[in-house]
Symmetry: C2
Subunit: 265 residues, 2 copies
Amino acid sequence: MQIITIANQKGGVGKTTTAVNLAASLAASEYNTLLIDLDPQTNASSSLNITNSSESQKNIYELLIQCIQNETISFEPTTSMIDRLHVVPGTIDLAAVESEFSELDNPQMLLSKLLNKVKLDCNYDFLIIDTPPGIGLLTINALVAADKLIIPVQSEYLALEGLCLMLETLDRIKEGFDSHLSNVYILITMYDSRLKLSKAVEKELREKIVGNSELIICNTVIPRNVRLAEAPSHGLPIMLFDPASSGASAYIELAKEVLKNEEAN
Amino acid sequence: MQIITIANQKGGVGKTTTAVNLAASLAASEYNTLLIDLDPQTNASSSLNITNSSESQKNIYELLIQCIQNETISFEPTTSMIDRLHVVPGTIDLAAVESEFSELDNPQMLLSKLLNKVKLDCNYDFLIIDTPPGIGLLTINALVAADKLIIPVQSEYLALEGLCLMLETLDRIKEGFDSHLSNVYILITMYDSRLKLSKAVEKELREKIVGNSELIICNTVIPRNVRLAEAPSHGLPIMLFDPASSGASAYIELAKEVLKNEEAN
Ligand SMILES: Nc1ncnc2c1ncn2[C@@H]1O[C@H](COP(=O)(O)OP(=O)(O)OP(=O)(O)O)[C@@H](O)[C@H]1O
Ligand SMILES: Nc1ncnc2c1ncn2[C@@H]1O[C@H](COP(=O)(O)OP(=O)(O)OP(=O)(O)O)[C@@H](O)[C@H]1O
Ligand SMILES: [Mg+2]
Ligand SMILES: [Mg+2]
């Protein structure tokens, strides 16, 4: 099983859109996929029309609490409209994690501990984790747990600026924790080939990355496509909302690229 | 002096773009304006080509530390390319505030305490505060200190969803602290009149707000305009980068609307 975290402290760069649509595309390619929504905004859950947990199907906060209190973990993910796609929903309660969990031993490892306890290896091929903006405890937990990291970078200047900050944090995490993060992928999002800005940011991004062997810029570039912004209001991933759209084919391309890298490793 | 906080926990909705360009437009209208960058990403500072503080010109984190340690506060803001626009820059060190300050008495009131100590009333007409995404201690400090709040809402579905979360938090803040927040303005941003999505979100927003007398939707709507996204790479506010652009005239409109409301109060 591969754990892929989607993170960038810059807001609004396409983290949730990537998490939801990559997970859906992998599931549609016959791989068992679990999506974890680690954002208190719960955008990933609502993008798949999944509201909060029921009595039996716990959300990610409830599972973390069970892990901390050494209770048996009642892991029962929520199914989605795609057979092989399961979801552990987020909740607004995650917003309290920063203040509630910071006194615990190794608060940064909580998610890794939970995932080790639940033993998902035999059920899932991929685990995709959506994270909130910023570099809080939730995002750090997702970085520590990750095998691979995808950093969506919107083709705009301010998102480019934030990348250095993200990479510095990553170095600290790799040194501080027994992180088994192998590859870091940069995914260009909201690319509009008609705009000089998109081309200029892409050029600057490629120049910045040259010489940094740990970073890989995805071959797949996600175009700006309004259908991607419309899909969440219908509670559907893009491949079900508008399979013919440029957004849908881009995320299918991305899934193929992730699978190819998986085989190569 | 009016303290206007720009906040929304949803990422990438135009908080920084609004803080920088509203502050610049108010300064250009001959009002003395101070912009405080309370975001560890420091996007507002870099959008005005202001890098970190010097020995004498402290950044906002250094000023907060002086306030906590009861030292004399050496307040000397940085000037900008616009005469009446001064800036207190942000810093990556702000990212540590959540863990460093949460043990203090009333950590949510730190910014208010600092602003009371520095007595800005005689020097400035407006104080604009840019905040990071999320609802962390930094954003809460800015909400507690605010006289007015502007919530930028991108004309997209996920941003609309986040609004309820923001308003719930606001109610908690008003009850919990001696908040003197009078008006809450919702600013529609990145509006593209060619898209059904923009029109649908605006309609839903107006329906949601009806009956809530404390919320006002700004008459000014900020259009999607690529020049606004290009301006930060030149370190200029939009009114200097491209005064003829639709983005520039929208933020001048917004400044006029803020001034009109000020007189009405
Ligand atoms: N390629 C795209 N083309 C057009 N719109 C997009 C695209 N990707 C994302 N969007 C829209 O842009 C907005 C921001 O995307 P999204 O919410 O996925 O970003 P995020 O990084 O998860 O934001 P946050 O920082 O708040 O978690 C959303 O309204 C989304 O629907
Ligand atoms: N009206 C607009 N038209 C086009 N682009 C815009 C507009 N407003 C903002 N942008 C661009 O959209 C991106 C997000 O805007 P901005 O960074 O101001 O949002 P933010 O809410 O401050 O983000 P964060 O949550 O990361 O602080 C930036 O690249 C910005 O340049
Ligand atoms: Mg998101
Ligand atoms: Mg910002």
